[in-house]
């Protein structure tokens, strides 16, 4: 029973982080329709920004976090302006490949600058975990869960409740018509990509201190982010959130009660199963024929 609860708590913490990762991607992949292969690199970037801010720049942990998020926003905007804007209207596979190229460059650049050795980000929380009912959870992870929850709520409110969010959705459903409504379509493109990037960076900045920071840390994160977005249904913030938790639960309990060698396979099998039963993810958009 203790063990079961411990698995559950672990899954909740992990799920929060996964959700955050998924939300950033659902903006870019789900709403903008860009298969963003830099998502992992942006996650890594957020972690390194956090590392730099809290070591080289000597910032306080709670100051370094927004710094890293803003840095992710800036890098996202830069990527959109230089790489995606000139290719607007190009095929989805073309932009995907450009993002693959950018991802390769970012990762190799990180390796070149920082070397391959993993870095640790100091955390201000006590090492000793919080214990209750035979279950332990570290303070840092608790903080990550809360911060992730706050960011998720923010994203949800922004996309579903504001004029900007509405303009975003409109633009990626029909850019020409959105322009006819007076939307500054170029700005929306840049803003959406930057926002999605900042969420990836936020995930990296939050998880950097939990884990360690190294150039390839984004690879697995990116694959999982894609899986989460798909599981929840494209473009849905709520879907990405739930998808994140579902994946975390599947992995945690798969590893705990089936076999740790197949830990990742559990997550993937769940995804295959869900998609076979509900081919448009958990939160499908309404469609019609004719």
């Amino acid at each position: 029973m203790d063990q079961f609860l411990q698995h559950l708590v672990n899954a909740m913490v992990l799920g929060g982080a996964y959700a955050l990762l998924g939300i950033g991607l659902t903006l870019i992949f789900g709403i903008m329709n860009v298969v963003n292969f830099t998502h992992g690199a942006l996650y890594t970037f957020g972690a390194y920004a956090m590392y730099l801010a809290s070591t080289a720049l000597g910032m306080n942990f709670f100051l370094a976090l927004p710094f890293a998020i803003v840095a992710g926003l800036a890098l996202g905007a830069l990527l959109e302006l230089t790489l995606l804007r000139p290719l607007r209207g190009a095929d989805i596979d073309t932009t995907m490949l450009v993002m693959i190229g950018a991802g390769i460059i970012l990762q190799s650049g990180t390796l070149w600058i920082f070397g391959g050795v993993a870095k640790a980000i100091p955390s201000p929380f006590p090492d000793a975990p919080l214990q209750f009912a035979g279950v332990s959870i570290s303070w840092l992870r608790l903080f990550v869960l809360l911060a992730a929850a706050a960011l998720i709520a923010l994203a949800y409110a922004m996309i579903n409740g504001t004029r900007l969010g509405r303009a975003m959705r409109a633009t990626f459903q029909d850019a020409d018509t959105a322009a006819l409504m007076g939307v500054n379509v170029r700005l929306i493109y840049t803003a959406t990509f930057a926002l999605g990037s900042s969420f990836a960076a936020a995930a990296g900045a939050l998880l950097g201190p939990v884990y360690v920071v190294f150039p390839q840390m984004g690879d697995l994160a990116a694959v999982k982010a894609f899986a989460i977005v798909i599981l929840g249904g494209l473009g849905s913030i709520a879907g990405a959130t739930i998808g994140g938790f579902v994946l975390a639960l599947a992995e945690e309990f798969g590893a705990g009660y089936v076999s740790s060698g197949y830990r990742d396979a559990m997550g993937f099998l769940i995804i295959i199963a869900v998609l076979l039963m509900k081919p448009t993810g958990l939160f499908a958009r309404a469609e019609r024929v004719g």
Partner: protein
């Protein structure tokens, strides 16, 4: 000016980039040291360093390039077992010997490739060296947590066999993906067993994460890590108090140079390492590159020529004291096609109050 070329096939990009770079840096120190003393056979050593991108296909391609384009008569490589195994058919094809500095898969020296000479211990050897310590530590029951590749799986199998032979109970064998960052599920499972010791095989980054996550999930058991890629200093720096009282089987003791088999060489190496501005933490990885090149140089010297055939033969006669003990190859694998395996020293160290010290039993 004519040089003696040594091919170095290491992962400089991709997931293993950090380790590969350390090995290369160690190799460079050795080459410079030898060259400063006049080189081998009166010629300077030239390292031809190539990146295998942590990818087996590339590792084979790199070997091909080193052998055919650069005409290196002998090589060192290729860090991971997958990478080394991928290179091995090339060695047979072109009849070029290779010194294996890091890989631990048993297959490397048992598959009948007479061009392979290994200075790193396969896990069976490591287990054998650890055997006498088992009782002294009072180990009764062990769970394994290993990386899911040949290295981790091999370690779990070989150590498990040794422990069972000594009457120690073996509990769970949990695995984790090489890229995994979150091992909380495995730890929650291990936390619930009655084993007194966890034996872990993983590289330093994952160990750091594991120790932090063990502290967070409240796992409090004896920890012994194996595999020689632990890099205890990095662990101390990054895992902090979470790494307290963890024990590590290592093949090199840079923390107490005076206790190494060749203190003078160790000190020289450490000083040079520091002079070049590399982090101290890298020494437990890089010393293998250093020893590897010194071993190759010794073989060339013995061979008296830079003919691959002669060098291959000469490897069998090499005898030198490496930073972690005597390097001397014994035969391993099917008769007539034996590979060479050297038996390095294995030490148990413990992290205590942020300090690293050898465990005296």
């Amino acid at each position: 000016e004519e040089t003696v070329k040594i091919g170095v096939n290491q992962p400089l990009t991709g997931p293993f980039a950090a380790s590969g770079a350390y090995v290369v840096n160690g190799a460079k120190i050795a080459a410079d040291e030898i060259n400063a003393k006049g080189g081998v056979l009166g010629k300077k050593i030239q390292l031809v360093i190539e990146d295998n991108k942590s990818n087996p296909t590339e590792a084979a391609a790199v070997a091909e390039k080193l052998i055919t384009s650069d005409k290196t008569p002998v090589m060192m490589g290729a860090w991971g077992s997958s990478l080394t195994l991928a290179v091995m058919p090339k060695l047979e094809e072109y009849e070029i010997p290779m010194l294996v500095e890091t890989s631990s898969s048993g297959k490397i020296t048992t598959s009948g490739n007479p061009f392979v000479f290994r200075i790193s211990p396969p896990s069976a050897l490591e287990a054998e060296m650890f055997a006498p310590m088992v009782e002294k530590l009072g180990i009764k029951k062990v769970d394994f947590l290993v990386i899911n590749n040949d290295w981790g799986r091999g370690a779990a199998a070989d150590f498990g066999k040794m422990l069972k032979g000594k009457g120690v109970e073996v509990g769970l064998t949990e695995t984790m993906d090489a890229a995994a960052q979150d091992m909380s599920a495995q730890l929650a499972k291990i936390k619930g067993t009655d084993a007194d010791t966890i034996m872990i095989t993983a590289a330093v980054d994952q160990l750091t994460l594991l120790f932090k996550q063990m502290a967070a999930t409240g796992v409090k058991k004896r920890v012994v890590t194996t595999g020689g890629s632990q890099n205890p200093d990095q662990i101390v720096a990054q895992a902090g108090s979470a790494a307290e009282k963890t024990m590590h089987l290592t093949t090199f003791l840079p923390w107490s140079p005076d206790k190494t088999p060749d203190p003078k060489a160790t000190e020289y190496f450490l000083a040079e390492w520091k002079k070049r501005g590399y982090p101290f933490a890298g020494t437990t990885e890089s010393f293998r590159g250093y020893d590897g090149v010194r071993t190759i140089a010794a073989a060339i010297e013995k061979a008296g020529s830079v003919e691959p055939k002669a060098i291959q033969k000469a490897f069998w006669d090499v005898e030198l004291t490496g930073l972690n003990g005597p390097i001397k190859f014994v035969k391993s694998g099917p008769e007539g096609k034996e590979s060479g395996q050297s038996k390095p020293g294995v030490y148990l160290i413990e992290i205590s109050d942020g300090q690293i010290a050898e465990v005296k039993l």
